[in-house]
Amino acid sequence: MGTNLFYFLVYPGFLFMAVIGGLLSWFDRKITARVQFRKGPPLLQPFYDFFKLLLVKETILPARGAKGLFLAAPVFSVFGATMAGVFILLPLLNITSGFHGDLIVIFYLLTIPSLTYVIGALSSGNPLAAVGASREMKLILSYEFTFLLVLVGVIIKSGQSIDLYQIIHTQQTGVPFIGSVSGVLLFIVAIFCLQAKLALVPFDMPEAETEISGGIFIEYSGTPYAMIKLSKYILLFILPAFIMAILMNGTKLEGINILWAVLKLVAVVLLLTLIRNTNPRVKIKQAIRFFFVWINLLAIIAIVLAIFGL
């Protein structure tokens, strides 16, 4: 019990993920600034933002809305992100070997943050938040199936294994999955799914700031908004870590391999940031079409190649 609580709250869990996620969020903003020839924010900026929202700002509740649900949604989003992160990081950091079928549990837990954003937005009673929530729902419908196809491809490549630890082990004894044609295709598909899951720019229509001024988060202020920021930081860490685990050989925590692990993580975040800085926001119709037709096609080609062992 004690060790489980430690796992959940401190080392691979909440505290560790929040700190690393905050640093990655700074990295994202700094790279964005450098791409635009700006100087960018200081290193601890995400933490200043978080503590300002948590400690200083007033929390305003919507007058005509479900207040309880409005306040509960951010808590559940942090919970879902942390829970998924613990299940990803325990096998990835080689602490425990997870349990049988944890890939499926992770897949479901990773949906919780997006769903709670939708619930929170709809319970705020703001029309712009409702527009954002409807877009987020459509986005979930379009990328979840694609993400499932990525997992199917990974399961086939690892020889019908649904344990994350087993998948990492298969890669570390053989070659990483990204070293084959189907692996590269699966990686491309997974990057687009991550972009949509994190609501970064080509797919940020739920919170489009210039268009519906904040969208799903428009009514949030103070502590609940700090929780939402925290869940975003955690997701920015665990989703690239998940891609690292299922496609890029996982991590070995000894000697020079720690450096490779950090570099792999930073490379995936860098790729996401560069995509977000060089693309305009697409319409929700275009995003659905993009996922349902083109990215699904790519994923199915990758699965067929994986069945033939390429």
């Binding site: 200081p42 200043y48 933002d49 001024s213």
Partner: protein
């Protein structure tokens, strides 16, 4: 200086309210966010919703139509919120001060923390005003 006020000063998010402006001040405010001046190095961001804002930038003359909207925006902002009046019109009314529809400079409607005069103020002047705002709190 406490931890709370330090975090607050390091992360001011801006919300821009334009009254009946001639657009010059709006353009100069946007200039502050461009690569040359880059307010983000002080942790400042332009946000889309007043619920996320810490600083309310008000420019342009406030006429009778704008006044209730400005009050509404100010009441919707989560406290503590700082108010900055930018430009001659925001500070005193400028050439509109004698006008028929003019409803008073910004500080007659909501409390103002910093005044940045100029028609329009240069981005350097806006930065100097922001520095004074940081020193004040």
């Amino acid at each position: 200086m406490g931890f709370k006020s330090y975090c607050f000063k390091k992360s001011l998010w801006l919300f821009h309210f334009g009254g009946a402006s001639c657009n010059n001040c709006d353009i100069e405010i946007l200039d502050c966010l461009t690569p040359r001046y880059d307010l983000e190095r002080f942790g400042m961001l332009l946000v889309g919703s007043i619920r996320h804002a810490d600083v309310l930038l008000v420019n342009g003359s406030i006429n009778k139509k704008d006044k209730p909207r400005l009050l509404e925006i100010y009441e919707q902002a989560p406290k503590p919120v700082l108010v900055v009046a930018i430009g001659a019109c925001g500070c005193t009314g400028g050439i509109f001060a004698e006008g028929n529809t003019f409803a008073g400079p910004v500080d007659k409607i909501i409390p103002v923390d910093v005044y940045i005069p100029g028609c329009p103020p240069k981005p350097e002047a806006i930065l100097a005003g922001i520095v004074k705002l940081l020193g004040k709190n």
